[in-house]
């Protein structure tokens, strides 16, 4: 006996029955998971806005009334219609106006997004206020992300790059030097600490390893240049395979700053200090 009818029945049953309502996420939680946020009005349920998408009971067509956040590359403006795959069948009804928190899903002639969550939009709320409420939530998310990086860091300091040099790494046992386009080509920056918030004091010098390679694998990794000033969040080096380095004839710990949040402008020092003090 073929199992196909049974499978189809199961799929239809799953799609056709309303899923239990998920716990409502806070606005910050929705913002954290979203990259496209807009105010819109549901115009069709169980439909799609572009022909290359399959309609399902979860998909709805939404008219975009106001774009609150989106990546620069994405073409989305007021008046567009967009396909939204809802979290839960039946949660988005025809004519409903809401703030949609979403992630990009399909980009072609049209845009399709996956719903993270939504908040009913109050018609009387001014556009600027909608924008402001999302911006404040985004700021909280950004602060929380930065606080995480601060907590994970061994050294947090404002400083200036004095020197950049090639890293001399001890070859790991059993791992001869490799030639690969993805070789990080480790460099070392020596940073003079001007103000230490954590793990370092003013006047101290610390060594930070960073990939000097231009390979695509490191396109988003911070780099250092002589004279560069900044607020630095440094972790002990667990990436290069050689946790120590030499400075002024002494063996010292090597650090890394591989995340984009690990290297901030100097003026962000006050914000970092504030986040360290706040709970």
């Amino acid at each position: 006996m073929s199992t196909r009818p049974l499978m189809v029945w199961i799929v239809l049953a799953v799609l056709g029955s309303p899923a239990p309502a998920p716990a409502q996420l806070t606005r910050e939680a929705m913002v954290r998971k979203s990259d496209i946020i807009f105010v819109g009005t549901v115009t069709r349920v169980g439909a799609v806005a572009a022909p290359d998408l399959p309609a399902s009971p979860l998909t709805v067509v939404v008219r975009v009334d106001q774009v609150l956040e989106k990546p620069d590359a994405v073409g989305l403006v007021e008046g567009d219609t967009i396909t939204v795959q809802s979290v839960r069948q039946g949660s988005l009804k025809d004519g409903m106006r809401a703030t949609f928190y979403t992630t990009g899903w399909i980009f072609g002639d049209g845009v399709a997004v996956r719903e993270v969550g939504h908040e009913p939009a109050r018609a009387q709320l001014a556009a600027a206020m909608q924008q402001d409420s999302v911006a404040r939530a985004r700021q909280k998310v950004n602060d929380a992300n930065l606080r995480q990086r601060i907590q994970a860091a061994s050294v947090v300091a404002v400083g200036r790059v004095e020197e950049v040099r090639p890293a001399k790494l001890a070859a790991a046992a059993g791992h001869p030097a490799r030639i690969s386009e993805h070789d990080p080509e480790w460099q070392e920056a020596i940073i003079q600490v001007e103000e230490g918030f954590k793990g370092a004091q003013s006047g101290q010098r610390v060594v930070v390893r960073f990939p000097g390679s231009h390979d695509v694998a490191y396109v988003s990794t911070p780099r250092f240049a002589v004279g560069q000033e900044g607020t630095f969040l440094l972790q002990k080096d667990s990436a290069s395979g050689s946790p120590l380095t030499m400075m002024a004839g002494q063996s010292v710990p090597a650090y890394t700053a591989l995340h984009q949040l690990d290297v901030l402008p100097k003026q962000e020092g006050a914000r970092v200090r504030g986040l360290m003090r706040s709970p």
């Binding site: 990259d35 496209i36 290359d52 990546p71 620069d72 590359a73 994405v74 073409g75 989305l76 403006v77 795959q85 992630t103 990009g104 899903w105 399909i106 980009f107 072609g108 002639d109 049209g110 845009v111 791992h175 001869p176 030097a177 490799r178 030639i179 690969s180 386009e181 993805h182 070789d183 080509e185 390679s213 231009h214 390979d215 695509v216 694998a217 490191y218 396109v219 988003s220 984009q260």
Partner: protein, 489 residues
């Protein structure tokens, strides 16, 4: 659409003897008369979707998969990020369901934002797709599959391991089974013989790593390991045998191995032995000079591991290999193409030698016509250009016909990362078409695309400007371009 072709230079096919003991290859078929030139029509499409008109990324190193079951289905990839940005847990592929006329981007690859390498091949089921990626973060190898490349579900991980480079996926149906061949450079291989093919005889349910290199190396092979599969189950694999190094200058052999039974045995790729040392793996060229440079060297492109292999799918005796090296005559990097008509036993001398070219990709059509896609740097300094060619030949490059798909400024935009255009492009064939993909400067200037070009993203040809959805100017960047060209009859 304006169709042009550039007239050919006749190159005498100089059959040679790579080894004293090897018999000479058979003479090439007679050349067609000089008047027998066919106008090759080609279509070029910038595959960045309309709704990503504002993107300015360097969408380099493109790759393409075709579905034999449905000519409308295509999948493509490049170093294209998830438009959602740095927090994205998936990377995208491009898909087309109308033969490449329009494309959309779907975030279905399990890698944060982007991959560090990606190739793919179609499976036996009508929409099945396999992929080999270097996953972000940390870039371990992930071998992936999906039963439906058009679906919105993240691809399934079949296997994973660290310390590999440049997975290159090929697949073929064998009876009821799907066979996968993933060429890769495996740094965990013993004795520095890192050239490896991951084999799966069961559609990715299990993989076995087979070491291909049979000779001593300088400590590793080059990153590029290229399998090619014929319909009769013959599998070739090309690799660069790095024998010695002085700094960043490496002396290398160009090697082709072969298995006559789909590499299904316990000790595969031993069916082609070199007469000089009786070891598996025919030495197509010896002691070529590889200049490894992971910095802008050829224009803004890096050089170091350039390799392509193609077998005539219906006549597995016919096989072509292309590689890059430095000849030393003032060149920066030179692409060589050679041919074998006797299952790799003997090889020609260069049938094409292309100075300051890179990213060759070969394919052999069902009528035996061979296609060669490559990119060549011309001029110098601010006036230099990247010229993308599709070269075709019906007679093993004794004669050939060349069309220019794109000729674009080489120094703009400035590189964001390397590779600038890609360590590889890709060329495939289906029916009477060559279908391929390359990356190039995306300035909407008809003069840059002699075959014509179609953009999905918003452009203004009159002012040569890219525009975002609101009509604001967008900076020039590198985009992937799909093309379809007639095969010479």
């Amino acid at each position: 659409m304006r169709a042009t072709w550039i007239s050919v230079g006749i190159i005498l096919f100089a059959a040679c003897k790579p080894s004293d003991k090897a018999p000479p290859p058979p003479p090439p078929p007679p050349s067609p008369p000089a008047s027998d030139h066919v106008v090759v029509h080609a279509q070029v499409v910038d595959i960045i979707p309309r709704r990503l008109s504002g993107e300015t990324w360097q969408d380099a190193e493109p790759f393409l998969s075709l579905y034999a079951s449905n000519p409308n289905f295509l999948a493509a990839s490049a170093f294209t990020p998830n438009p959602g940005g740095a927090a994205s847990g998936t990377a995208p592929i491009f898909v087309s369901s109308n033969g490449g006329t329009t494309w959309s981007l779907r975030n279905t690859i399990p890698s944060e934002v982007m991959t560090a390498d990606i190739t793919h091949a179609v499976g036996r089921n009508p929409r099945e797709l396999y992929a080999g990626i270097m996953r972000q973060p940390g870039y371990p190898l992930n071998e992936l599959s999906t039963p439906d490349f058009l679906s919105f579900v993240t691809m399934t991980q079949l296997s994973m391991r660290n310390d590999i480079d440049q997975p290159f996926v090929r697949a073929i149906k064998s009876g009821n089974a799907e066979r996968l061949y993933v060429g890769l450079n495996d740094f965990a291989a013993p004795s520095g013989r890192t050239a490896t093919v991951d084999l799966s005889m069961n559609g990715g349910a299990t993989f076995a790593s087979r070491r291909i290199e049979t000779r001593n190396t300088v400590g590793q092979n080059a990153p590029s390991i290229r399998p090619a599969v014929a319909e009769d189950g013959t599998v070739y694999v090309a690799y660069l045998g790095w024998r010695s190094a002085a700094g960043s200058v490496i002396q290398s052999d160009v090697v082709v191995a072969r298995d006559d039974h789909g590499a299904s045995g316990a000790n595969p790729f031993k069916d082609l032995v070199d007469p000089s040392d009786h070891l598996p793996g025919r030495l197509v060229a010896r002691n070529v000079t590889i200049t490894w440079s992971n910095a802008p060297t050829l224009g803004q492109e890096r050089i170091g591991s350039t390799l392509s292999l193609a077998v005539d799918g219906l006549h597995s005796d016919n096989v072509y290999v292309a590689w890059g090296d430095r000849v030393g005559n003032g060149d920066i990097w030179t692409v060589h193409v050679r041919r074998s008509t006797d299952r790799g036993a003997t090889w020609s001398n260069d049938v094409r030698t292309l100075t300051n070219a890179t990213a060759p990709s070969l394919a052999v059509s069902t009528n035996g016509t061979v296609g060669l896609l490559y990119q060549q740097l011309t001029g110098s300094g601010s006036t230099s250009r990247w010229v993308t060619h599709l070269d075709q030949s019906r007679d093993g490059f004794a004669t050939h016909q060349d069309i220019i798909l794109a000729t674009v400024p080489a120094m703009t935009p400035a590189f964001q990362f390397l590779p600038y255009l890609g360590d590889y492009n890709f060329l495939l064939t289906r029916g009477n078409k060559f279908l391929g993909i390359f990356s190039a400067n995306n300035t909407p200037d008809s003069a840059n695309f002699p075959q014509g070009v179609v953009y999905q993203r918003r452009v203004d040809f009159a002012t040569h400007r890219l525009l975002d959805r609101s009509g604001a100017p967008v900076a020039v960047s590198i985009d992937p371009f799909f093309f379809s060209a007639d095969v010479l009859p």
